[in-house]
């Protein structure tokens, strides 16, 4: 397995609060990785720095050997990293189909000026909606969909951008058990097709059941990493996260 996404000494402070304190992590290609840790341990800030949504104060991020630290978020998407947000974000007044079509892979000027509803693109977008079980909502405005459906829609959009590595920020947050089951299955299926995942999640049942590798954050830096069975019994993790 090759290293896919790596950070070196990533630091980010907001005023006097240090969110990331020299985080050096590597996620290998082809794995389902989980990033866990107590609230405020810097997990979402880590995602935001990696995806270019915020600039780290120092440190570097490389993806498949390429430095992406200072790249704009859309260039990081084009490099192959997609993400969802902790509080699910969809385009509320656009239809579900347009939400998925809005995901952009690099296109030339001519292609950008052509109709957004090119048959092949619509077919591709619909296929993601179908796979996530929300194809019947293709013409419905996203704002009228339930929270769980919006979570699936957000993931469909990310998948349509064609990333090899997907960062999911709390995919289980606020979803019912049936949908949670579906999301877990979907992650494993997509991983089997070659996609790498990094998942921030507090639902330990989900994390332990779908992850190959877990990194534990505390106070802005990793304190432990390893396979689920190792993390489950790691004393530092039990102390910092599970409060045992």
């Amino acid at each position: 397995m090759t290293k896919s996404l790596e950070t070196h000494e990533l630091r980010k402070a907001f005023g006097g609060v240090t969110a990331l304190d020299g985080a050096s992590v590597s996620f290998r290609h082809g794995r389902v990785n989980a990033l866990i840790g107590p609230n405020g341990s810097g997990k979402t800030t880590f995602f935001n720095c990696v995806t270019g949504m915020i600039r780290p104060d120092s440190g570097t991020t490389t993806y498949q050997g390429q430095d992406i630290t200072r790249k704009a978020p859309h260039r990081i998407v084009h490099a192959g990293i997609g993400r969802t947000f902790q509080l699910c974000r969809v385009f509320p007044r656009m239809t579900a189909l347009d939400n998925v079509l809005a995901a952009v892979r690099p296109v030339g000027v001519t292609r950008a000026l052509l109709g957004a509803r090119h048959r092949s693109e619509v077919d591709r977008a619909r296929s993601w909606l179908t796979r996530l079980g929300i194809e019947h909502l293709a013409g419905v405005e996203a704002r009228t969909m339930s929270w769980g459906q919006q979570k699936l829609l957000e993931l469909a959009g990310v998948l349509n951008a064609g990333p090899e590595t997907i960062l999911l920020d709390e995919p289980a947050g606020g979803v019912n058990p049936a949908l949670l089951d579906r999301i877990g299955t979907l992650v494993r299926e997509l991983n089997a097709e070659g996609r790498t995942f990094v998942i921030v999640e507090h639902n330990m049942d989900l994390v332990m059941s779908i992850s190959d590798h877990i990194v534990v954050f505390d106070r802005g830096r990793p304190i432990a990493e390893g396979p689920p069975q190792q993390i489950r019994t790691d004393e530092r993790v039990l102390g910092a996260y599970l409060g045992v």
């Binding site: 859309h74 084009h78 385009f91 809005a102 000026l113 109709g115 019947h136 909502l137 058990p177």
Partner: protein, 347 residues
Amino acid sequence: MRNASRVATLGAAVVLAAALLLFPSVAPNPYVLSAGIVVLNYAVVATSWNFVGGFTGYISLGHGALAGLGGYATGLLVTKAGLASFLALAVAAVLIALLAVPLGMAALRVRGASFVIVSIAIVLILLLVFQSWASFTGGSRGLVIPRPFPDLSRPEHHRAFWYLYAGLLALVLIAWWLIDRSRFGLGLKAIREDEDKAEALGTPTFAYKLIVFVVSAFFTALGGGLYALWFGDLDPVFQFSILSGSYLVLMALLGGVRNLFGPVVGAVVVGVALEYFKVSFGDTQLHLVATGVLLGLVVMFMPDGVLPALGSLVKRLRPDDTASIREETASELRDQRLASSTAGDRR
């Protein structure tokens, strides 16, 4: 649903085309025709504003000044450089589009209220420059621009400009429609909904915003330049006015920023109302009070504008054919999985 929308757009286009062709013949006198040209100018510039405001949600109060720049650039190219009127108009629009690149690069770095404030600042700076640089712009004395058709009588002059404006409006509407249905347009609408999310899905948001700002400035300058050739006299106080920019926002909001014809409908309502108030109440500021009240009413009762409100009304009267948005229960999912595994076993 999409077909119904297409039919409505086509119907509206036919009605608008008929109105544009017939109005000069039915206008009772040259004054009404000239008032119609003012409204048509508003329609062109408000639709041009809607490239930025409608697609990206960035509310610019500076578009009145972009029209003013187009007017002054056209006038100065005619009077100082000796260019033919309509060549000057085209060159001026290109120049303003080029100027929009650095303007956009500065202004589009900020969002929301900050962008509105930057757009106001641009208006005020331009007003100062054009008032102070009297040796070049004519300053407060104004800039007189020779008529492009000196042999025509005033009614014929109005009639010619009516059709020129009608052609320009058609061009602007076609450009807006083309962007609306393009991948580029979808990216712009994604920016309007959630700019960070659009960027996170791969849209180069800054480049998209800048391109559409430049396109908008080009058409706004064409509208302003044509106005300069028609009216023949420019004054910085009126050309670089926050009020004129606010009128454009009101028109687009009133008609509906997400609709092709929204700013046109808004321009007709607000343009006619402004003319009525000016004729009926002279130099009082009653027209400002009226437009303020209108803006309040629109924001409170029709935040999406008149056309979407009408569309919702029509939709409410039709039988509901929207898909169910209920979630599936665990038992339904279990049944589906069972059915698919049974089908898999058969294969």
